[in-house]
């Protein structure tokens, strides 16, 4: 049978020793005969040697982090032959120093529990996030004690903090060690829940099942199903392929923004929060000629840097209208109506600036709409564990940050591209059949199309043009302008950082503004 290793970690005085004592006293570990207790920190509460002996528990004290030598567990096996090891770990030591040790094949890390004093948790997280984060990230369970003064709401907030760092970590607020359900689940071998492996397996099964279903559908279903799927896949992959360079570029810029605090004149002006900063934010997109999927990581990078929300949103909404590439694409898509390019720029700027001003008026701030815990979302220099110092270190930090950012954004891009590729193959026919002569209906159809047919801001002028035999000019321009703003793929990507409620509100705001702007326009055109 495997020898389990449980690690109890946490800062000094967080209640580790008390927890271990109670675990031992409450028969949690009664099935083991030869328990080894490794103590890495001498706390204020001490173990009672006699009592330990009585329970056949051998203590082993490690004084320094350097005592964690590669052959530690090997020596332990030879000397003590334990059938269970519990470690009281030092919360200031790096957890990966312990985990990277060689262990005999029949040894297994079972639980890592992070113990924390609930009253001090937030203060500690604020000041020592880089020390704490890896411990929580690696833990299976976080145990809070001394929370007597807390009400339910505060407890929820702490749980959320933990979930933000590692969504798989379970949280418990301990009243009585003897009856705690979660502890029983984790520390009693017979219902050992170490089912990471199983989870992956069930997931694999689910994916496999889906693939089988899909192929069955293709074989048995419509004769065209294979080709239909193939064209969806082609669209899906093509969206991803053209997005990859832009996402990488965006990831680097975003990481750069986060690591170098000040990013030039434009960002400073945006951050100042004065009224004219809206104008600067609106035209700033001209100097970042990348398509909208590359803009999303930049926006989230800015928000993580705490730039004011109204200006950042103005920057985001206007960027796709003022980009030089977009302007050129408009001129080429509508060679007979070059003024439409101007219309697009002006209406994009209007919508962006008005949205920003509205947010400013209702006094919505970045911290109200940002999702989860910014401290954790932010790529800190130290979290990335750098080897180098100075300029070299900064380059390394940007590179490592971009990597983190890339994986974070890519997931959302895949989901978004998946949805929009399916819709894009289905939509055009549906749209064409839904169109009437009523300009209001046309506008409504274009709003839906803008949301669902995620097309790159650089090419949606051409898509819009293909509607021109069914739809009049103003709704088409509204489709082109709103496209990148309402694009489902972009919204899904932004939901990584912004709260869903806010995104829905923003989308509504954009639709209302567009209705006003294009309603006015249709009087003149």
């Amino acid at each position: 049978m495997a020898t389990y290793i449980d690690i109890i970690t946490g800062f000094l005085e967080s209640g580790k020793t008390t927890l271990i004592k109670e675990l031992l006293e409450n028969d949690y570990l009664k099935e083991f005969d030869k328990i080894l207790l490794i103590i890495c920190e001498e706390g204020f509460t001490e173990y009672d040697d006699e009592k330990l002996q009585e329970m056949h528990i051998k203590p082993l004290t490690l004084e320094n982090e350097s005592d964690l030598e590669d052959n530690l567990f090997h020596l332990i096996k030879d000397k003590y032959h334990p059938d269970y090891i519990i470690v009281e770990y030092n919360g200031t030591w790096s957890i990966s120093e312990m985990l990277r040790l060689k262990i005999p094949f029949d040894y297994k890390f079972r639980n890592i529990a992070f113990v924390s004093d609930a009253e001090n948790f937030r203060y500690q997280l604020d000041n020592m996030v880089t020390v704490m984060q890896p411990h929580i990230l690696n833990s299976d369970i976080v145990i809070f004690n001394r929370f007597d003064k807390f009400h339910q709401g505060t407890q929820k907030k702490l749980s959320k903090d933990i979930k933000n760092i590692n969504p798989r970590t379970k949280v418990t607020f301990i009243n009585d060690v003897a009856t705690d359900k979660l502890l029983k689940e984790r520390f009693m071998t017979f219902n050992n829940p170490d089912n990471t492996y199983l989870n992956v397996k069930t997931n694999l099964k689910a994916v496999f099942f889906l693939v089988v279903c899909l192929s069955l559908l293709i074989v048995l279903g419509l004769p065209n199903a294979y080709n239909y799927t193939q064209s969806i896949v082609a669209v899906f992959l093509s969206i991803l392929m053209q997005a990859i360079p832009f996402i990488l570029l965006g990831a680097f810029i975003s990481a750069g923004i986060q690591i170098f605090a000040s990013t030039g004149w434009i960002m400073e002006k945006i951050s100042e929060g004065k009224w004219y900063s809206f104008a600067i934010a609106a035209v700033a997109g001209f100097f970042m000629p990348i398509c909208d999927c590359g803009m999303v990581p930049i926006i989230s990078g800015l928000l993580k840097k705490d730039t004011p929300l109204p200006q950042t949103i103005t920057f985001w909404l206007s960027s796709s209208a003022v980009s030089p590439v977009v302007i050129i694409s408009m001129l080429y898509a509508f060679p007979e109506q070059p003024y439409l390019a101007v219309v697009r720029i002006i209406s994009g700027l209007c919508i962006g600036i008005i949205a920003g001003v509205v947010l400013k008026i209702i006094k919505l701030e970045t911290k109200d709409v940002i999702r989860g815990n910014r401290r954790v979302l932010n790529i800190g220099k130290d979290v990335l564990e750098l080897k180098n110092q100075g300029a070299k270190g900064k380059v390394e930090a940007v590179f490592a940050g971009a990597l983190v950012e890339f994986f974070r954004v890519a997931e959302y891009v895949i989901v978004g591209a998946c949805i929009s590729s399916v819709l894009q193959t289905v939509m055009p026919q549906t749209i064409k059949s839904m169109i009437g002569n009523n300009i209001l209906i046309q506008f409504a159809v274009m709003v839906i199309a803008a949301m669902l047919m995620s097309t790159c801001s650089t090419s949606n002028a051409f898509i819009g043009r293909s509607f021109s035999n069914n739809i009049s000019t103003v709704p088409i321009v509204s489709f082109i302008v709103m496209g990148p703003m309402l694009d489902l793929k972009n919204i899904v990507m932004l939901s990584e950082i912004l709260k869903k409620k806010f995104l829905v509100m923003l989308a509504m705001l954009v639709i209302i503004e567009s209705a006003i702007v294009f309603g006015t326009l249709s009087l003149f055109m």
């Binding site: 090997h74 990966s96 985990l99 990277r100 060689k102 262990i103 094949f105 890592i112 690696n138 833990s139 969504p167 970590t169 990471t196 989870n199 997931n203 994916v207 080709n227 193939q230 064209s231 896949v233 082609a234 669209v235 899906f236 992959l237 093509s238 969206i239 392929m241 053209q242 990859i244 360079p245 832009f246 694409s329 001129l331 080429y332 060679p335 007979e336 109506q337 070059p338 564990e385 590179f399 990597l403 890339f406 994986f407 997931e411 895949i414 989901v415 998946c418 590729s421 026919q429 064409k432 097309t455 790159c456 650089t458 051409f462 293909s466 021109s468 035999n469 739809i471 009049s472 055109m525």
Partner: protein, 295 residues
């Protein structure tokens, strides 16, 4: 003796390598042509290099052992990887046409509506009325067309002619405009927009044969797929051809078509028509799409 590894780093490395392999394969085998515009090539090569550098930088992290790692969400990367393997790009093959036909019909008639701002209606009773509006609109927009002309001229300064069709005299061989893939998109749009100046001219281009439901028996559409940015905006365009050997042509067959540009009324609009058509059968080209070279 075992050693705990950083599973997350390993998974990330595998994903990065898988993505770069697929991209490299797509680039080398030219399958990338089916997905994106050639102007993305450089960007994709740079991306491949960066992804590989990412993977290399992660190798040192494999030793940073981790516990309770959340790798489940990386499953999502399996979607594009599996999709790419299960449904390799074969370009627009014969089966795809059933989906794209409708697009071609719709887009075929679309070009002539550019001159008017009213909504289109195919109701036959208002054809005449609309045509009148059309004429009025086109005279009214003459100035505008001129200004457009200037913009286009500014882009191609060597040409300062009012007759748009003379742009293509340099491609003429024995009185026939030979339209290669690189100028096809521009030429096609010009033919539709300035049909009058092209009337009576001879042209020759590579195309595929498409059938249209509402075509006469001796008619077919000689068209190609156009890409602006990526496969998501792929559209089919073509010119109607009249021939006596229609029966000998199969759908999606590659041909070189040579004929005289004429016009005829289709769904109420004047569209180009190729007559006196000579057809030569061709092998499918390596690059089947037409790419807009606008920017």
């Amino acid at each position: 003796m075992g050693r705990k590894k950083n599973i997350e780093a390993i998974v990330q490395i595998l994903i990065l390598i898988a993505i770069s392999c697929l991209l490299i394969d797509a680039m080398i085998s030219k399958k990338v042509n089916y997905y994106v515009h050639p102007r993305f090539y450089l960007g994709i090569w740079i991306s491949i290099v960066i992804l590989i550098l990412f993977a290399i930088s992660l190798i040192s992290k494999v030793k940073k052992a981790r516990h309770n790692v959340n790798v489940r969400h990386y499953m999502i990367f399996a979607i594009p990887l599996v999709a790419a393997l299960l449904f390799p790009a074969t370009g627009v093959n014969s089966k795809d046409m059933t989906l794209k036909n409708s697009d071609i019909t719709a887009l075929n008639s679309e070009e002539n509506i550019d001159n008017k701002t009213d909504t289109a209606s195919t109701d036959s009773k208002i054809y005449n009325e609309e045509n009148v509006i059309n004429e009025e609109a086109s005279t009214a927009e003459a100035d505008e067309t001129d200004s457009t002309q200037e913009i286009q001229d500014a882009n191609t300064p060597e040409e300062e002619t009012s007759d748009i069709s003379e742009k293509y005299t340099q491609y003429e061989k024995n009185g026939v405009m030979v339209i290669n893939d690189d100028i096809f998109a521009e030429w096609y749009n010009d033919v539709y927009d300035h049909l009058d100046s092209f009337k009576g001219k001879k042209c020759k281009y590579l195309a595929q044969v498409y059938s249209m439901d509402d075509f006469k028996e001796n008619q077919f559409l000689a068209g190609r797929y156009f890409m602006v940015c990526c496969a998501a905006d792929l559209v089919g365009y073509g010119i109607t051809c009249e021939t006596d050997i229609r029966n000998e042509l199969k759908d999606e067959e590659w041909i070189t078509v040579e004929g005289t540009i004429n016009e005829y009324q289709y769904n109420g609009y004047m569209v180009p028509l190729l007559t006196d058509v000579t057809i030569t059968k061709e092998e499918a080209p390596d690059v089947t799409y037409i790419y807009y070279n606008n920017y």
